[in-house]
Amino acid sequence: MARIVQEFTKGLWKEVPPFRFVLGLCPVLAVTSNVQSALGLGCGVIFVLLVSNTLISTFRKLIPPKIRVPVFIVVIASAVTIVELSMEAYFYTLFEVLGIWIPLIVVNCLILGRAEAFARKEPVHLAVADGLGMGLGFTISLCVLASIREIIGAGTWFGMRVMPEAYLGFELFQRPPGAFICLGLLLFFINFLSQKLEKPKAG
């Protein structure tokens, strides 16, 4: 039980993607200009990660090591196709906004990374905990970055006005260059925070 909790929570802070492992960066920058799309993509990633981790861990003893990567990729691609088709059917506006980024979940390094580093070695219940934790950590990170960019860039949050009417918004943060700079500063801040938090323990 303790092990499940541990595998689940490591995704939330200790190994939170994409800040600790700089994996799966592309969507992190591309969909974070507002919180809605960040949350939408995050949910897609959680689903795919959960499906791929569960299936790969279930069949881990049957998959021949030599061709494991193609097998993983087919599993992931199928899960992504499910997300793609159901999003098109039920959340069409979100589907339109996310566009190419939904099929691109398939090449998110985070998902293949978890399959390779975790799910192919560990039993199912741990793989589920790991997938859920990592997916949740990823979604929260996306939302944090998106909140910063949306509030500073447009003065809104989830489409609602949070800054005073007179605030015009710092356009740069909504644009591609701002995404890089904002993520860079956030990574710096997280490094700073974890150093502050870990120092007392070390001393």
Partner: protein, 192 residues
């Protein structure tokens, strides 16, 4: 001819695949710490990108469309790319073992390089003809190499200077990339 030229300029500068469209970021921050590996990665990506786009365009238009299996696009494309990367890996291991070693984990990860897959999908979404597909794939890969090599050059200089420990590595690389993106953003007016 002018159309193709315009398409190339747009894809390389105004819509740079990394800095403006955010495709292929993992190798961008991953292998940009030295120029040698940046060059190797660029060459591998150029080769794979053009081949993958060409093959997946044909697979889509001559296999999936006649059979009405368009929804299998994601699965089909990723399989094409995965087998291609395997091929490049085997060839590189044989011809240039030193380069193979320095690329390390990032060569197998070219399978999950969003650029390769993204360009293949973009070609279909934007309904490119066959020649346009080849030109577009080539141009995006050149844009990728340009951004990757410029960043690698800058990061090699940073290695000589004194950088605050908390900033070194990814944070600094990302902020540098941000400033580069700002420069590339200036080309926006050109393509439209």
């Amino acid at each position: 001819m002018t159309d193709y030229l315009l398409m190339m300029v747009t894809a390389i500068f105004a819509n740079n695949i990394i800095l403006i469209r955010f495709l292929g970021l993992c190798p961008f921050v991953g292998v940009s710490s030295s120029q040698e590996s940046a060059l190797g990665m660029s060459a591998a990506a150029l080769f794979v990108n053009v081949l993958a786009s060409t093959i997946s365009w044909n697979v889509y238009n001559y296999l999936l469309v006649p059979l009405e299996l368009q929804y299998l696009r994601t699965v089909a494309f990723i399989l094409v790319i995965a087998s291609l990367v395997q091929l490049v890996e085997i060839v590189l291991q044989k011809i240039a073992p030193a380069l193979y070693k320095s690329l390390g984990i990032y060569l197998p990860l070219i399978t999950t390089n969003c650029m390769i897959f993204g360009v293949a999908v973009l070609n279909i979404q934007e309904e490119h003809t066959f020649i346009e597909t080849v030109v577009y794939a080539f141009a995006t890969a050149i844009g990728f190499s340009l951004a990757l090599n410029v960043l690698a050059g800058i990061r090699e200089r940073f290695a000589l200077g004194r950088v605050p420990a908390l900033m070194s590595g990814f944070p600094l690389a990302l902020i540098t990339a941000g400033i580069m993106a700002l420069c590339f953003y200036g080309f926006m007016g050109l393509g439209q």
